[in-house]
């Protein structure tokens, strides 16, 4: 399985804009800045790009606007994926496929959002997009992602005894790691007392359960693993990529009980495929960057990617296992909760830096295998994930 995609493509460069609450510039400008930084990291220029990919939900500059803004007349292979965090890693996986298939040699993947100053995911008066499941929820005031995840977190608490302190352990622990990340928007330590005192947004979630609405962009340059070896930086292989697992937002009664258990995410279906493509298992993962739009998504993914038993995500997080030096360091950059929210791609960028051994005060010693994951598939059906491996 995975004969041609496994280890075919590598990340050759990573680039960021600064993260802020108000960038003062357009998403086109953010995208260009991150892309140029990633190309510089790789030792390449815009003239080398023959593929460009992003995802968006009507909130960002598309490839056909970004490429010409950088003077790229023919962007070559392109992907303008509709979707939010659940497709963040699918964009990288599909770019790797384009490279593996020989359709493109050098693809830049980016995500650029003014998620605080322009387009807030929580709605703020925007009419809910689309109908489908949302039409049965929005009239009751169930609109924002934080509310959907709060319902699921509550279901998990009821089923498994997951506690507020378990959620808090994720928030406190990630802030601790962000102290070692100069890019992080929030670096001041927080205590469990601070967590428990933070105001309610949508119970059981407090303010400190929620990611930081962020203005910023991040970009990654992908090329063939073979070519990447000759470029400026040590290449990080995309060893496996997987998609899917989805069901509509925890409703419906399909064959096999699709969506029947709201406490299990789409990642539970995707994970076996991902590991099989890599020939690796959860025990091989040295560092995991798990999509953390809210604290609880970390807990459910710890379970669904096989790092602990179902229902044990809370106790596992509270045990200290997720620290640098712990059994499974998770969200070493502080995650969306403390570094900033670039909708998934900054998790991949962090994984790349960990595997290059350049993460400084937050480095996991000897990290060779990293898991990076997308939103685990509740809001827009499926999910996606990557397994990355260090330069050999």
């Amino acid at each position: 399985m995975g004969g041609t995609l496994r280890d075919a493509a590598a990340v050759a460069g990573v680039g960021y804009t600064p993260f802020s609450k108000d960038s003062g510039v357009s998403t086109t400008t953010l995208a260009c800045e991150a892309i140029l930084a990633a190309l510089d990291d790789a030792g390449l220029g815009p003239e080398d790009i023959d593929g460009i990919a992003t995802h968006r939900v009507g909130d960002s500059s598309p490839p056909w606007a970004v490429a010409p803004a950088l003077g790229i007349e023919d962007q070559g292979w392109y992907l303008d994926q509709f979707g939010g965090g659940s497709v963040s890693h699918a964009v990288l996986g599909q770019a790797a496929m384009a490279v593996a298939a020989g359709v493109a040699e050098t693809v830049v993947c980016y995500r650029a959002i003014n998620a605080r100053s322009e387009f807030r995911m929580g709605g703020q008066g925007r009419p809910p997009a689309g109908a489908f499941d949302l039409q049965y929820q929005a009239p009751y005031g169930l609109i924002a992602p934080v509310q959907h995840y709060a319902l699921l977190a509550r279901a998990h608490m009821l089923a498994y005894g997951t506690s507020h302190e378990h959620l808090g352990a994720v928030a406190v622990g990630q802030r601790e790691k962000a102290a070692g990340n100069p890019r992080a928007l929030k670096r001041d330590p927080i205590t469990m007392r601070d967590y428990l005192a933070s105001r309610w947004i949508a119970e059981p979630f407090r303010l400190l359960d929620c990611c930081l609405e962020t203005d910023g962009a991040c970009a990654l340059v992908l090329t063939s693993a073979e070519r990447a070896r000759d470029l400026r930086r040590p290449p990080v292989n995309i060893t496996a990529a997987a998609w899917g697992g989805g069901h509509s937002s925890y409703s419906g009664a399909g064959p096999g009980g699709i969506g029947a258990d709201p406490t299990t995410s789409a990642a539970a279906r995707l994970a076996p495929r991902l590991y099989a493509m890599a020939g690796l298992g959860p025990a091989d993962v040295d560092v995991a960057e798990l999509y953390d739009c809210f604290t609880w998504t970390v807990l459910v993914q710890l379970e669904d990617y096989g790092f602990c038993a179902k229902g044990e995500g809370g106790p596992y997080a509270a045990s200290g296992a997720l620290r640098i030096g712990g059994e499974l360091p998770v969200n070493t950059h502080g995650g969306f909760l403390s570094e900033g929210y670039v909708h998934g791609i900054n998790h991949v960028a962090e994984a790349v830096q960990q595997l290059r051994g350049e993460a400084g005060g937050r480095q996991v010693p000897g990290a060779e295998v990293a898991l990076s994951t997308a939103q685990p598939g509740y809001v827009l059906a499926g999910t996606s994930a990557l397994l990355l491996t260090a330069p050999r």
Binding site: G125, A131, Q137, P139, L158, G252, A253, G254
Partner: protein, 141 residues
Amino acid sequence: MTEPAPLRPGTDRDSAAWWELVRRHRLAVQRCTGCALLRFPAREYCPACRSRSWEWRDCAGTGRVAGWTVTHRAFHPAFAGQVPYTVLCVALDDGPGLRCWGRLVGAGPDALAADLPVEAVFTDAEPSLTLVDWRPAAPPH
């Protein structure tokens, strides 16, 4: 000062008839006439046998609490006057895997517990819009 208009559901061609039933104070799910599977939300194909033949089946109007959230800030102006408010996820008693969402009425969130029995309440928000809310079920006689 006038209340902001309710947020109307964006119905589609699969769901319009379901909302019309609710307007007439009927809570229903689809029953596949091919394999008898009950399904919700409304859609044309049975996900088990792929039949397009189905009928409405009136629900018992009862269910169990599967989850809830108490919202403390308004994410849309229509709800500014309602915070904090509680939205439930309800597992319908009619069959496995059938879940519905609605506001909690007639009690506060302190009354909630896993699997608490609840019953549907029809709330006429506007002449052309009825919503399905939920209240703790009366104890059996």
